[in-house]
């Protein structure tokens, strides 16, 4: 295998370009056979929602995403890994997060992207608050138990 390029990890207010990120991964090495992307999108929540506000813990968010990406690169043979998480206000239909994993074989790309998303959800210090269409600020989004359960699933696989 050719050397693994360092993961690309970004936290930014601006939107991202999925096609450009896929191109970057596919051009990075000549042996990339599979690229899996996960794009997380702000849902309209039946028309209630004006926007999601994404708060993060500066410094720790970067460190934690780095740890998650590092673990993924150790576990799977990846040709590249990109993680982009937006902060600030995101409107329904707009992108929130991108995980893109490239590999020689498809299974590594699928598993690594799924792993990174599971840990981003439950370990990376980001919080979502709803801004409603009636002009009020709504509730903080509640964490789902199912997300925490998925983290435990990966830990078991690891042992």
């Amino acid at each position: 295998m050719e050397p693994v390029p360092a993961p690309i990890l970004r936290i930014q207010a601006a939107d991202f370009d999925v096609a450009a990120e896929i191109d970057r991964l596919s051009q990075a090495r000549a042996d990339v056979g599979a690229i899996v992307t996960f794009t997380g999108i702000c849902r309209a929540e039946e028309g209630r929602l004006a926007a999601l506000e994404l708060e993060h813990y500066p410094g720790m968010a970067e460190a934690e995403i780095g740890r998650i990406a590092g673990e993924a690169v150790r576990r799977w043979e990846l040709s590249g890994l990109t993680v982009i998480h937006r902060i600030g206000l995101v409107k329904p239909g707009q992108n929130i997060v991108l995980v893109a994993a490239g590999s020689v074989h498809r299974q590594a790309a699928f598993e690594a992207a799924s792993f990174v998303m599971d840990f981003l959800k439950s370990r990376a210090p980001f919080w979502k608050r709803e801004h409603l269409n009636d002009g009020t600020t709504g509730d903080w989004v509640e964490a789902r138990d199912a997300d925490e359960d998925r983290i435990r699933g990966w830990a078991v696989t690891k042992d």
Binding site: G40, L54, E55, H56, Y57, G59, M60, A63, E64, H85, I96, V97, M117, L120, K121, S122, R123, A124, P125, F126, W127, K128, R129, W140, V141, E142, A143, E148
Partner: protein, 87 residues
């Protein structure tokens, strides 16, 4: 021996306490995360309100997740926040 530490708060923990961060002198007997949460709840109603259910409070020391039994010795920055909802 009291120690000086920076506390940072996020999301609804920040809102309920009413500030994003503060420097605080901790008495020597406050040596674990759990003890820190007890200590903070005694500081006033806003803290009691924010930390009423300590089991849902997540804690990071110097940018790393820790559980409530973890020592806070040597911590420079301790963060308290609700379960994360990114991604």
């Amino acid at each position: 021996m009291a120690s000086d530490v920076k506390l940072v708060y996020f999301a609804w923990v920040r809102e309920r306490i009413g500030k994003a961060e503060e420097d605080i002198d901790l008495p020597a007997e406050v040596s674990t995360v759990a003890q820190l949460l007890v200590f903070l709840r005694e500081r006033g109603e806003e803290y009691r309100n924010a930390l009423a259910r300590p089991e849902v409070i997540r804690v990071a020391i110097d940018h790393e997740h820790v559980d409530h039994g973890h020592s806070i010795a040597g911590a420079r920055e301790i963060a308290l926040f609700p379960p994360m909802t990114g991604g």
